[in-house]
């Protein structure tokens, strides 16, 4: 395997809680973070449930012990909280450190409040600076003093899985000594209205891999992992797990939809298993993308069947806990996957009741306590940007 990539820090803020232990606690208790929208003024307030973090921007700034100002978008604040937890103190004093963050919504939540004013009043123009995708990454980089490599990835719902992959590759190529990887997305009218026009939002809490599923719930979150190549580990580093392998493959099917038979998803999972050099039977748990849209769960389910055949490991989607956190999803589920390895837990797929007729398997519905050595986590983006990452415990 050569020089393995160790995971030496975890950080997360989601509708399940403001740090790793609060998130783990909700996962163990089976308490979903899906609720009514409270902190954003939308006509869909009491219609479309969401995975919302119930803290105002001012409260988020207080957690960070910084003075709240318009310089910080909600996206940046969420990213800073999760990044700080993952970077800890162990990240400091690194020779060559980097950050790769992912976002799709960027500063849109703020921009959309002021959009009409921008055109007439120059005094709102400072929000333009916080609009682009790189802004939240740069805020985190400044806050933590990470400055050797700073970049942002935006590839729809596989964004932060791809930032984890890029980080691992930079370490393997010896371009960096330590890297913070992850992603963030805040809820915004833009995403709620946009996904609503696509008619893929469920008015009920989402039901991943259920025959009666009716779409996804959007969520907001930030999650980060600190990565270090094994030969650069310090005595003070705590190793939570390893990145065993990863792969990204496209569908070559449609600009905005996945192929029904999941061509790219199959390729991504298969390539990741090959790269890990393990037997597919060694995968103990698949943390599925499982958004609960018709299209995703069908194509992902069929590709799991294609890759694993008769021996399908435990599968569940944690989207019914957090909502679909878009660019953050890959990193959120990376944190959950590492916790699964560490604690020997397989999380329940909440809200499941009806077997999908196209599939030979159904998801895990109760929390399982078992030995978990390999977790495969899927993140599939619009138009078939498919990423699979395998995490291992030792």
């Amino acid at each position: 395997m050569g020089n393995r990539i160790a995971i030496t820090g975890l950080g997360i803020v989601s509708a399940l809680g403001m740090n790793v232990s609060e998130n783990l606690d909700s996962l163990k208790k089976g308490i979903s973070g899906i609720s009514s929208l409270a902190l954003l003024d939308s006509v869909y307030k009491n219609i479309l449930p969401v995975g919302e973090i119930k803290k105002t921007d001012k409260q988020l700034a207080d957690i960070l012990q910084i003075t709240y100002s318009e310089e910080y978008t909600r996206t940046a604040l969420l990213a800073m909280i999760a990044a700080k937890e993952a970077w800890g103190v162990s990240g400091n004093n690194t020779d060559r450190s980097g950050i790769i963050s992912a976002t799709t919504v960027a500063g849109m939540r703020t921009s959309e409040q002021h959009y009409v004013d921008f055109l007439q009043h120059k005094d709102k123009s400072h929000f333009v600076e916080t609009h682009d995708a790189g802004d939240s990454t740069e805020k985190v980089a400044d806050y933590l003093g990470i400055n050797d490599f700073v970049t942002t990835i935006s590839t729809a719902c596989s964004s932060s899985a791809n930032s984890i992959m890029l980080g691992a590759r930079l370490l393997k190529a010896n371009k960096l000594d330590r890297v913070l990887v992850g992603g963030v997305d805040a809820l915004s009218l833009f995403t709620i209205n946009g996904f609503n026009t696509l008619m893929i939002l469920d008015k009920e809490p989402c039901r991943s891999f259920d025959d009666d599923r009716a779409g996804l719930n959007l969520g907001e979150a930030a999650a980060f992992l600190q990565l270090v190549p094994e030969d650069k580990l310090r005595k003070t580093d705590h190793v939570y797990g390893y990145i065993a392998a990863y792969a990204n493959a496209n569908d070559a099917y449609h600009q905005t939809a996945s192929s029904p038979e999941g061509v790219g998803a199959t390729l991504a999972m298969q390539k990741a298993i090959d790269l890990a050099g393990i037997e597919k039977s060694e995968v103990d748990y698949i943390n599925a993308h499982g958004t609960a849209t018709h299209n995703n769960d069908l194509s992902e389910g069929l590709s799991i069947m294609k890759v694993f055949g008769d021996e399908i490991p435990a599968v569940s989607s944690t989207k019914p806990f957090t909502g679909h956190t878009l660019a953050a999803a890959g990193a959120v589920e990376a944190v959950f996957s590492v916790l699964s390895l560490q604690k020997g837990l397989i999380y329940p797929n909440l809200n499941f009741s009806n077997q999908m007729k196209e599939l030979s398997f159904s998801p895990v519905v109760k929390l399982l306590q078992t030995n978990v050595k390999y977790v495969l986590s899927n993140s599939f983006g619009f138009g078939g940007n498919n990423s699979s990452i395998i995490y291992s415990g030792d």
């Binding site: 055109l119 026009t197 493959a249 496209n250 569908d251 070559a252 600009q255 905005t256 790219g264």
Partner: protein, 208 residues
């Protein structure tokens, strides 16, 4: 450079391997694109819903791949393009539909084309390519960067065959330079030669 199949489209002219094969009768970009499409390419109805940039890249790739014999699986083929103006034509169209308060209708049909890598996506969808694909925005065709990137892919056994090039379009200019490179010939192609070829084609198109 004789081993490299390439096409160049600009100024109502289509060159294949430096030979002028089509001279458009109409100076209008959209009409010329349609002329190239109708110029013995196979029918592909999705062509009509593409934006101008994707149409340009698409017809270039179709001309390039037509009659090109190779033994590679589509899944092993990828495409790396460069571009200067991103998707400015469709961006302006989309912005106009947002700014118009009376007839406010930001069309999803335009929106999906407001990313330059949609042009590589269209080509991948058409041909079933599943290899590396990306678009890099650069101030002008950067042969050194492109060749370096392609060579890394071949050296690391990530691909067997690639399409590469520079595809760019704005309100009153457009050009597409595209070539096929494979595991056999990639080492023979030097970035400066490639750049000189591009310059030569550009000059030929301007004076044709």
């Amino acid at each position: 450079m004789s081993t490299l199949k390439h096409v160049y489209l600009s100024n109502s002219s289509l060159f294949v391997n430096n030979k002028l094969v089509l001279r458009g009768e109409n100076p209008i970009f959209a009409k010329f694109l349609k002329e190239v499409y109708l110029y013995n390419l196979s029918r592909y109805p999705k062509f009509y819903k593409m934006d101008a940039l994707s149409k340009l890249a698409f017809v270039a790739s179709e001309v390039l791949l037509k009659d090109y014999k190779h033994k590679h699986q589509a899944e092993e083929v990828g495409i790396i393009l460069q571009n200067k103006s991103s998707t400015i034509i469709v961006d302006k169209k989309h912005q106009a539909s947002i700014s118009n308060r009376e007839e406010y209708f930001p069309s999803p049909a335009n929106f999906v084309y407001t990313l330059p890598n949609v042009m590589t996506g269209e080509i991948c969808i058409r041909n079933g390519f599943k290899g590396e694909n990306a678009v890099f925005i650069v101030p002008g065709f950067d042969a050194a960067f492109l060749m370096n990137y392609l060579q890394i892919l071949f050296d690391n056994d990530k691909t067997k065959m690639m399409l590469g090039g520079f595809v760019d379009a704005g309100e009153d200019y457009y050009e597409a330079f595209m070539f096929i490179i494979d595991e056999q010939n990639y080492k023979e192609i030097q970035a400066d030669q490639l750049y000189n070829l591009y310059k030569e084609l550009k000059e030929n198109a301007e004076t044709s």
